[in-house]
């Protein structure tokens, strides 16, 4: 009986406990039924914000090698706080006045000021996800990561004493601590506000991003992954409703693709991993518009030995700074950036990309983390090198690991308007010894520039010459650049390269497209000569394709001339089928030729039946001409041209046009008529012979060709 009573009491307690956990503040944290938002959030935030916020001491913590050790360095006092031997295998975290690191199979907690070990916990198959502190409360999160069978552990320390230790079967993210409240991301969509006893005070939920990591900057709590939210009273409204949120929205891929905030479900990379040498640096700030933004409107990228200060979308460089050794830790501060190098050099870089100060740590860090919100950056008098020069140096750095960043530097040159930038891009694009990726990027960037450039023009003036050791310049990107800029000055140079046998075949289409796009009608003659000369010489598909592009260019430049060039081509049996077909297709696109003024068709169309063919005068100047010209031929045949066209239309082969070769005697008599296709000869012969050609001054025979279209 007593046993039954005891059982009932236990069940009641269990039930009440469950109910309490399901909906009441002060319950076990991270339960599925805890309500989101509401007044609790405001109350918890008010409690957190009530505590005064002063900038924490500026420190660098990290792992050094030879021997492997943990260290902490006071940036303000410029002195080493401690260096203790430790088999650390992850980047340590700064949690208020504590340093938290994963070492062998445990997590250690040391005092920041002297490195004394105050706590240690077994990792138990988990990773150190993150830790933070405000001087009174520290929060440490361990987790297995992943998405299945996840285990996590939240450790809360008041001072150096553990005040709460919560193990949960869900994923926890990196915490932040402000005003005695721990902000713990969990389940990728929640952030729970937890007090020092481990009681969940409030919870927020987000829908637009992932709650992976939380951090404090300027007394405000932020969290996110692809972007970051500010955790304030507006958060409940969502992004559309006015929540403060900034998203990393890159318009270009950054080298190494470092994350803005690391994914807490992914195990941290080993400390030796190169991933620790490729990182983004940023700090949140409120813009004047009231929108959340980046401090100094700048996103920093560290890539081994190169530091880029970029516009938030990554497309515009503010400066580039190159270090002597690999950067193993970066941290954005107001007006600049702090960088820790593997050589032990710590450098503060100002907003112009100049080294404001540097300090020697006296050890060789493998990875480092910096905590600093404000650092006094000494004013520099020296003018920084022009941005073009900075980018040029970055693009030419011989370190093979830097190839992606070098290509990125070349890409950034595209946004620099100066002609020097074009010059550098041309040199990079043409540099035989540069890595393919850098060259390719430089060429692509050059192609996309829209600025009129003397450098492009000067490069186009270069001709290949073996004796002078010159190769053809990178013509495709140069031609595209000239086209993008609409620089008609380039047309003659492009045509000169079209006629230059040293021009690589693969560059010809780009040249022709640029010539066509620039629209200088005087270019038509050269293009026409090219099409005519090579149309029957095309031995491969590449030249065939080039000829097709040339035909398009010709039509764009001078449709009238194009018809005269393309008609014979379409019927030339010596040309490859592809060339003939292309010519015919282009002719079809051009449509039927407009009837010539004064012709029968034109007269009919104009409603002037009196304008008979006989009335068309033959152009003979005062006295016979010295020789026959095309104009004489046109004039003489204009009367019969409609009938000639009919002959072509009715020919059994249905040709688009026919080519006539006329042998005309000195008295204007027709000696011979040849036609291609031959089937039209019978029809055209009497028509041609009926035409009256002028006599020539010296009685010389003339052999002339004449095209008749349908």
């Amino acid at each position: 009986m007593r046993a039954q009573r005891a059982m009932r009491t236990w069940l009641l307690a269990l039930t009440l406990g469950s109910a309490s956990a399901g909906g009441c503040a002060g319950s076990a944290p991270f339960s599925a039924s805890f309500p989101n938002g509401g007044e609790r959030v405001d109350q918890a935030l008010a409690r957190a914000n009530a505590a005064p916020h002063g900038p924490a001491s500026a420190v660098v913590v990290g792992v050094a090698d030879a021997p492997r050790s943990l260290f902490a360095y006071d940036l303000s006092a410029r002195r080493m706080l401690f260096r203790v031997p430790a088999e650390a295998h992850g980047v340590p975290s700064i949690a208020g006045e504590l340093v938290v690191a994963s070492e062998t199979t445990k997590v250690t907690v040391r005092r920041l000021r002297d490195g004394v070990l105050v706590q240690e916990f077994p990792l138990d198959g988990m990773h150190l996800i993150g830790a933070d502190g405000d001087g009174t409360l520290s929060a440490i999160v361990l987790s297995t990561g992943g998405t299945m069978n996840v285990r996590s552990r939240l450790l809360l320390l008041s001072g150096e004493r553990v005040s709460a230790d919560r193990s949960v079967t869900r994923g926890l993210g990196a915490p932040a601590v402000r005003g005695g409240v721990a902000f713990v991301p969990h389940q990728r969509v929640h952030v729970s506000l937890v007090d020092a006893r481990g009681e969940e005070l409030a919870r927020v939920r987000i829908r637009e991003d992932v709650a992976s990591r939380a951090f404090v900057h300027g007394g405000q709590v932020y969290f996110g992954q692809r972007g970051f939210y500010r955790l304030d009273g507006e958060l409940d409204r969502g992004i559309q409703g006015g929540a403060h949120y900034w998203k990393l929205d890159l318009k270009t891929k950054l080298p190494g693709a470092p994350p803005l905030l690391a994914d807490s479900t992914v195990a941290p990379a080993p400390i030796e991993s190169a991933l620790h040498r490729v990182a983004l640096g940023f700090a949140p700030a409120m813009a004047e518009s009231g929108q959340l933004a980046l401090q100094d409107d700048t996103l920093y990228l560290a890539f081994y030995k190169q530091l880029f200060a970029l516009s938030p979308d990554g497309t515009v460089a503010r400066w580039v700074y190159e270090t002597a050794s690999d950067v193993v830790g970066v941290h954005a501060v107001a007006g600049g950036l702090l960088a820790v190098e593997s050589s032990g050099l710590l450098t503060a870089i100002d907003a112009q990309g100049r080294a404001a100060f540097s300090a020697e740590l006296g050890l060789q860090p493998i990875a480092a983390k910096v905590r600093a919100e404000r650092i006094a950056l000494a004013t520099q008098d020296a003018e920084p090198a022009p941005l073009t020069t900075q980018l040029e140096r970055a693009a030419q750095n011989p370190d093979t690991r830097l190839v992606p960043a070098r290509a990125f530097a070349a890409q950034l040159l595209g946004g620099v308007e100066s002609d020097d930038a074009a010059r550098v891009l041309i040199a990079l694009c043409d540099a035989e010894n540069a890595p393919g990726r850098v060259r390719e990027q430089a060429c692509t960037t050059l192609s996309q520039r829209r600025y009129v450039s003397d450098a492009v023009l000067a490069a186009l003036r270069v001709r290949a010459n073996f004796l002078e050791g010159r190769r053809a310049p990178p013509l495709t990107p140069l031609a595209r650049a000239a086209l993008q800029a609409g620089d008609r000055r380039a047309a003659p140079e492009l045509l000169a390269h079209l006629a230059d046998p040293a021009t690589p075949s693969e560059d010809l289409p780009a040249l022709l497209r640029a010539v066509a796009g620039l629209g200088d009608a005087s270019s038509a003659e050269s293009v026409s000569a090219f099409v005519r000369l090579y149309h029957a010489d095309a031995g491969d598909e590449q030249l065939e394709e080039t000829l097709t592009v040339a035909m398009e260019a010709l039509i764009k430049l001078d449709a009238g001339r194009a018809r005269g060039v393309l008609e014979p081509l379409a019927n030339d049996q010596f040309a490859r089928v592809g060339v003939r077909t292309a010519a015919q297709r282009k002719l079809d696109e051009l449509g039927p030729a407009a009837p010539e003024e004064g012709s029968e068709l034109a007269s009919e169309a104009a409603g002037h039946p009196d304008a008979s063919p006989a009335a068309v005068p033959v152009a003979v100047e005062s006295g016979p001409p010295a020789h026959l010209t095309t104009q004489h031929l046109d004039d003489a045949l204009s009367a019969v041209r409609p009938k000639l066209s009919r002959c072509v239309r009715e020919a059994p082969e249905h040709p688009a046009s026919a080519r006539l070769v006329l042998v005309i005697g000195g008295e204007g008599e027709v000696l011979d008529v040849r036609a291609l296709p031959e089937s039209v000869k019978g029809c055209v012969d009497p028509l041609v012979r009926s035409a009256q050609f002028p006599a020539t001054k010296y009685g010389r025979r003339a052999v002339m060709s004449y095209s008749v279209s349908r």
């Binding site: 290949a464 073996f466 004796l467 029957a536 010489d537 025979r701």
Partner: protein
């Protein structure tokens, strides 16, 4: 009597003459490119071919005049072929165009050059373009220079080579500039052709550019320099011995040693300098020089080179 079609006779005769492979007395390069190894051979072959074609054409004319009915074409005398050529050039038949191109070589250059120019610029397939260039060589007229100059910048190197050879052959006033430009061509064969052509053209003013070409190892430059150098230039050129590989200079030395206008002391000094270099390369060069000496080379030079070869062997 049956009327003879002059055009057909001429075409057949021309084809028969120009396409006979085994004509030892007149090795036409139009038909035997494989046997003509040097531009000089080709020019000689083409001259022979021209004579042959011209003769056959005259025979044809005679036959036509003697047996043909008096047609409009025959009334025009020799100019009739011009009309026929013009018509055939426009043909879609490869054989007809080839015949026209070949026949054009037998007609007055002033009449046919404009037609050939127009036909080439209107686009010819590869085989026919070769024939057209051959005809330009046979015509041997400076009026072809503008077309040849353009063809010296054709996209196919083999066309450029042939245009350069013809350009030098017709000795067009603009040839030197064209050939000098061609020395900078990216194709080695074109550079060699240009160097050879400058040597053939006798362009002394091209010496500086040929010297640069020599330093860069352009094939043919050494031989051209040997041909073009004036006695005043010889000392400067000989100063290259020891600076450039002897094998590179060897063709130049061979020509200089054979030339009568080069002072004998210079020749002896050249032999001594090469000999003093010593080594296998020097020995090979001297042996080759000895073998290449022209019969009219002065005895002292012959003796000096023989002595140098012996000395090299002894060492």
């Amino acid at each position: 009597m049956r009327a003879i079609n002059f055009r057909v006779v001429l075409r057949l005769l021309a084809r028969a003459t120009l396409r006979v492979d085994a004509v030892p007395a007149a090795p036409s390069c139009l038909a035997c490119h494989a046997r003509c190894t040097t531009p000089r051979d080709r020019v000689t072959g083409l001259r022979h071919a021209r004579i042959a074609v011209g003769g056959v054409a005259l025979l044809a004319l005679a036959a036509g005049t003697a047996h043909a009915a008096p047609t409009k074409a025959s009334r025009a005398g020799g100019q009739a072929s011009l009309e026929e050529v013009a018509v055939m050039l426009s043909s879609a038949d490869e054989d007809e165009v080839r015949t026209a191109l070949e026949t054009a070589a037998t007609l007055p250059a002033a009449d046919v050059l404009p037609m050939l120019d127009e036909r080439v610029r209107a686009g010819l397939p590869r085989v026919l373009l070769d024939v057209a260039i051959d005809s330009l060589m046979l015509l041997d007229d400076r009026g072809s220079a503008p077309l040849l100059s353009d063809l010296s910048r054709h996209r196919r190197p083999e066309v450029r080579v042939r245009a350069i050879e013809v350009m030098a052959h017709v000795k067009a006033p603009s040839a030197e500039q064209v050939l000098t430009d061609a020395l900078g061509d990216q194709a080695p064969a074109v550079r060699k052709a240009a160097a050879d052509a400058l040597g053939e053209l006798g362009s002394h003013s091209a010496l500086p550019v040929l010297e640069r070409a020599l330093a860069l190892g352009v094939d043919g430059a050494a031989r051209a320099l040997g041909r073009l150098a004036k006695p005043d230039d010889v000392s400067r050129l000989l100063a290259q011995i020891g600076k450039l590989p002897t094998a590179t200079l060897s063709p130049m030395l061979a020509v200089l040693l054979s030339r009568r206008d080069v002072p004998e002391p210079d020749k002896l000094r050249a032999i001594a300098t090469v000999s003093a270099l010593g080594g296998e390369e020097s020995q090979t060069a001297l042996t080759e020089l000895e073998a290449q000496l022209a019969p009219e080379t002065p005895a002292r030079v012959k003796k000096a080179i023989a002595a140098a070869v012996q000395k090299g062997k002894a060492e």
